[in-house]
Amino acid sequence: MMELQITWFILWGVLWAVYFMLDGFVMGAGILHNLIGKSDGDKRVMINTIGPIWEGNEVWLVTAGGVTFAAFPTTYALMFSYLYSALFILLCALIVRGVSYEFRSKEDHPLWRKGWDTAITLGNFLPALLFGVAFGNIFEGLPMDSTGYHGSLLSLLNPYGLLTGLLFVSLFAVHGALYLTVKTTGELSRRSQAVADKLWPGLLLVAVAFLVYTNFATRLYDNYLAHPLLMVVPLLAVVFLLWIKIFSAMGKPLAAFASSSLTILMVVGTAMTGLFPNLIPSSIDPASSLTLYNSSSSRYTLKIMLLVVGVFVPIIIGYKIWVYRIFRAPVSEDEVLADKQAY
């Protein structure tokens, strides 16, 4: 039973990590939508780099949610009801983001397009920030005990929560800028790389502040003190973060993008390793922490779900790679203007 629960904890962490890696560049490109995109043509190119894949990326979130429900129902129930208002705003933002990509191209009026451009920016910025704030608070622990939850939307906006929010926003922004560098051509690609270069020092600063503050605001480092070998995970996160700069300077945007992808995986890995065996620690009553032991489903359910995930996730990864390869070529403005199907 314990092995099963630990396996599911790892899978839970991996799902979130993959989600943030994949939707991270969508959110990042969206945050920078109006900054990098100067003309309507620029913006259409950017949307067409995102269009074919954003939905498949968002499904990782739906799966992370579904798997939390199926494998850790108590965590799902308490996490979602405790973070009610934050999740409500998150849902609204994700809904607006999704329809923006579809609706924007359906009218030519400049005001219509401007409106959806703003929606794209907000619809990507808010989720990035809120995910950061929510996870920052989870790292700190939520104020919960046997009588329930004692926090509010405002209590989530504490300094550490906000710093984690800023970390997510800046990490995703760099990640998204690098994606656009790889996936566009000419001036737009150069501009994207320039934005990534400009943002990177800021990201480094936020990341260092986060690593230091984590020592005071959370108990995430306890596991690392007990098992120093684990330090390799955060070290790798830092190494990959530096690689972003190195590869960018060498003029290798694809390698830089791969580095930002790995950075995100390792940042989430760092946090999950620190949380173990908690899914959500309590900041006021350790006995009320939600752990992989006290909040998981029954052995039977975990086994069934493991079978489903074990069979289907490799298939999903297979066809996702296939579709990504079909769309691997950068999108140019000429191509978008010539293609009536383009968004």
Binding site: P52, W54, E58, F69, A70, S298, I304, V309, K340
Partner: protein, 449 residues
Amino acid sequence: MDVLTLSRLQFAITSMFHFIFVPLTLGLSILTAFMETRYVMTGDATYLKMTKFWGKLFLINFALGVVTGITMEFQFGMNWAEYSRYVGDIFGAPLAIEATVAFFLESVFIGLWIFGWNKVSKKVHALAIWLVALATNLSALWILLANGWMQHPVGYVLRNGRAEMVDFMAMITNPDGILKFAHQLTSGYTVASFFVMGVSAWHLLRKNETDFFIRSFRIAATFGLFSTIAVGLFGDMSAVEVAKVQPTKFAAMESIWESKRGVGMNLLLLPDPPNECNSVEGICVPNAVSLLAFHDPNALVKGLKEFPPELRPPVLPTFISFRLMAGLGTFFILAALAATILSRWGKIENQKLLLNLCLYSIPLPYLANFLGWTVAEVGRQPWIVYGVMKTSDGISKSVSLSQVIGSLVGFTLLYGFLGVIDIYLLAKFARKGPDNDLSTMLKPRGQEA
């Protein structure tokens, strides 16, 4: 108004809104896939134009259906935490499986279909829309197995203070889930058929693109005839199942107060819940209810009085929704039959009356869907899981009244705003008609600018 009432209202509003888009997606994905397949097989450019035209409407509709689906998954935890904690061990599984098995497939291949016209071969492109159609239909299966479990819980034991799954196979072969799935699927096909027939009728009444819309109409009418008959059959089978496992819902659907054998069906009937009787009863078909529900003219049907008042569902909405839905279902079969005959063997473009009927019937299958879900969900009350957990016990304890008011108002405004835009765009592109400039559509593969 308390947290419970408002949470129920929010779930009703968000799921109904989600459900404006889902049924059309279920059916129109198949129709679009069929049209594209015909194009690949025959090379006939009209089928390509059809694929583009109906596909565009499909996508505008699809966008809002997808994004509002996430709200449904999150809401169980947000508003119904006690429910989620109590049944998550078994109820979470179909939702997680839906995401893994169906939703990934759907969202990856819809991207390929929208943006891949010039990137893959015609056959692969047609395969993409078939995979989308398959995936949306598979999604419905898992969601309805989850709902079926709430109607008729199977494959679980109460242990460790919750419902734990002990028999996965029982859950995925639950007749309530399977029949609901079949009933829902075919009613989605009905929505799509009437949508395509109605939009085609609008153009035919104006003599626009006659050949294009006659052919579209014909495909939809045939699909509709099959679908409407199937909805009725699966609906009948569902009602038989309800009579067996949810006696309170069945009694409310038929407004039967006293238990007795050989119950007849009153064509005229008006329930009077305060007095626990019917104020109007007339034109009785003897033994019809017993015969239809239990396949035995003398079968015993339990009346509502058999159960304490607090375990009975609201009779009036359940009864009226059921009657209206069944009436609409009958009308759909007749309309689809007339449409099929006249579009195959008559000059449909001259049949003004039928064309107008089809045009104004577009909203009716949507209405029938809403009514059907009202029967299913209101009729299940006061239970959230029939016979196991009350709706009032499922609510989140930590959520405050102001939070629910905020989200209810917020969702309603946002959904209302987006719904208006979506319907505006649907109407705009439906009126615009097909795009006849195929030059950019037929670019050979690999020739990228």
